[in-house]
């Protein structure tokens, strides 16, 4: 079995804040996500999942000699950011891609599928 990270590639509005769909769209999305999660648990592949707060809430720690510097904000401003993720434990990439496909269907955003190396 291999663990795969399914990352939700979330488009950035450039403000560091979430660009959230209106509540009437968000609600069915959250319902589908909850359903998918219980499907994953039932299939015995679900390891861990979470949605993240907006990039503006991030703090970056940088090595600085023997010291550590704190920087307010995300590591890098990008066109996309990691909005959330699920870790699944499945036999191979085809299974991971199947769950990834279902995640796309639930959320409507691109999903990056990447194997863990350890």
């Amino acid at each position: 079995m291999t663990q795969y990270l399914l990352s939700v590639v979330t488009p950035s509005g450039g403000t560091g804040e979430h660009v959230q769909p209106p509540p009437e769209e968000l609600e069915p999305i959250m319902a589908r996500v909850a359903q998918l999660r219980s499907d994953m648990q039932e299939a015995g592949v679900w390891v861990f999942a979470g949605g993240l707060e907006a990039p503006s809430t991030a703090t970056v720690l940088r090595p600085s000699g023997d010291d550590v510097l704190l920087v307010d904000g995300p590591f890098a401003e990008g066109k996309e950011y990691l909005g959330g993720f699920t870790v699944v434990d499945v036999p191979d990439l085809d299974d991971a891609l199947d769950w990834g496909r279902r995640t796309v269907a639930a959320i409507g955003l691109p999903i990056e599928v990447r194997p863990f190396s350890w």
């Binding site: 291999t2 036999p91 191979d92 990439l93 085809d94 891609l97 990447r114 194997p115 190396s117």
Partner: protein
């Protein structure tokens, strides 16, 4: 190619396919097969080629892999591989080999790999070409091609692309990917985007060989036969496709008596078999169009209404619509064809501008035709194509 190299190429796909399953590692399988070749190259010239070269290569490669795993057997994973390997029976049945070849093919053509990586990997693993040969065929430096293949192999291993025949539900989509890979090899052979060769005969032969393998491995899918027919009918025009000066000769001006009749006959027989099956698909339709051309003794006597009807069955991509417009121009005149061409969003294509130029010439719009040839010339790096365009431009007067 030496006779020995030909044998290696012939057995490569089968040997790598069987060993990848047994070893659970594509890289290891490939290296073991390469070692077996080295042994063969040293011994066969003296002792002669064994009765079953593929069996010999597989057995020798497996022994090499076992030796190597024994030497390196420090981790439990390697020991597990070794256990699996020694438990494997010596004799491999034909049906099992076929399944292994399918596994290898579908792994190399996996949609999680970039299209150019699929093509390179398929030619390397299934087709048995060397990295240098593939690099030459696709006009990229050898280190670039080597890196592309290595990267693809690493992704297969690390992301765990499974070594198996796709499920019934996934098969159509996965087969489409494999067909597209083989078609791409054939397309690149027939009209390379760059370079000074009008036709690349080696790649054509490789594409045909891979298509034959697909027909053999997936006999129930008419699109495999359709692709093979398309490649054969395209290849049949090869003797007429480049003139003595090295310029490309377009279909309308080819000397059809030079077409390879044996390839035409095989291609047409396949098209007829597809028609009888009654489950058409894009490759079969394209092959049928090529068969209509092969039926006609001259460009002028082509059954254009049949060609248009067949193009209407294909997904209306800009390239399909362009070819359809050419046929419509023959049927309904150049101004009707031109109106269709001018509707297409295909400005980057040299073919579009060359077609426009030909239609404008027939409408006696010489200046416009000249400008269209210039546009076509500016968009191709293929010197054989450029030679043809310059000649047609000069003939405008």
């Amino acid at each position: 190619m030496s006779p020995l190299e030909e044998v290696f190429r012939e057995v490569h796909g089968r040997a790598v396919a069987v060993l990848t399953r047994q070893l659970g590692d594509l890289d290891l399988a490939e290296e073991a097969v390469a070692e077996a070749y080295a042994t063969a190259a040293a011994t066969w010239p003296e002792r002669g080629v064994p009765p079953s070269p593929a069996g010999w290569v597989i057995t020798t490669a497996r022994n090499r892999a076992v030796d190597r795993l024994r030497r390196e057997a420090v981790g439990t994973a390697k020991l597990a591989e070794l256990a699996r390997l020694t438990a494997e029976p010596e004799v491999v049945e034909v049906g099992a080999v076929r399944d292994d070849q399918l596994r290898l093919l579908f792994t190399c053509c996996h949609p999680a790999l970039a299209p150019e990586a699929r093509v390179a990997l398929t030619l390397r693993m299934v087709g048995g070409l060397t990295t240098a040969e593939i690099a030459r065929g696709f006009l990229v430096p050898e280190p670039t091609m080597a890196a592309r293949i290595t990267r693809a192999k690493h992704k297969i291993a690390r992301a765990r692309i499974p070594y198996r025949v796709p499920s019934e539900a996934d098969l159509p989509q996965r087969l489409a990917s494999a067909l597209a890979v083989v078609h791409l090899v054939g397309t690149e052979a027939h009209s390379p985007a760059t370079g000074d060769l009008g036709v690349r005969d080696d790649l054509t032969a490789d594409a045909v060989r891979l298509a034959r393998l697909l027909v053999e491995l997936v006999p129930g899918e008419p699109e495999c036969r359709g692709l093979l027919a398309l490649l054969l009918l395209t290849a049949s025009r090869r003797p007429a496709r480049v003139d003595d000066a090295g310029a490309l000769v377009p279909l309308d001006r080819q000397d059809r008596s030079r077409w390879d009749r044996a390839l035409v006959a095989e291609g047409q027989a396949l098209v007829r078999a597809c028609l009888r099956t009654g489950r058409p698909g894009p490759y079969q339709v394209q092959a049928a169009i090529a068969a209509v051309h092969a039926d006609a003794p001259t460009w002028a006597s082509t059954d254009w209404s049949q060609v248009v009807a067949l193009y209407d069955q294909l997904p209306p991509t800009p390239v399909v619509l362009l070819n359809r417009a050419v046929a419509v121009a023959e049927l309904d005149g150049p101004s009707v064809g031109l109106a269709l061409v001018d509707r297409l969003d295909l400005d980057a294509s040299p073919v579009l501008h060359a077609v426009r130029a030909g239609l404008l010439r027939r409408l006696d719009r010489v200046e416009d035709a000249r400008a269209a040839y210039d546009a076509a010339l500016a968009r191709t790096r293929n010197t054989a194509e450029q030679a043809d365009l310059r000649r047609r431009r000069a003939a405008l007067s």
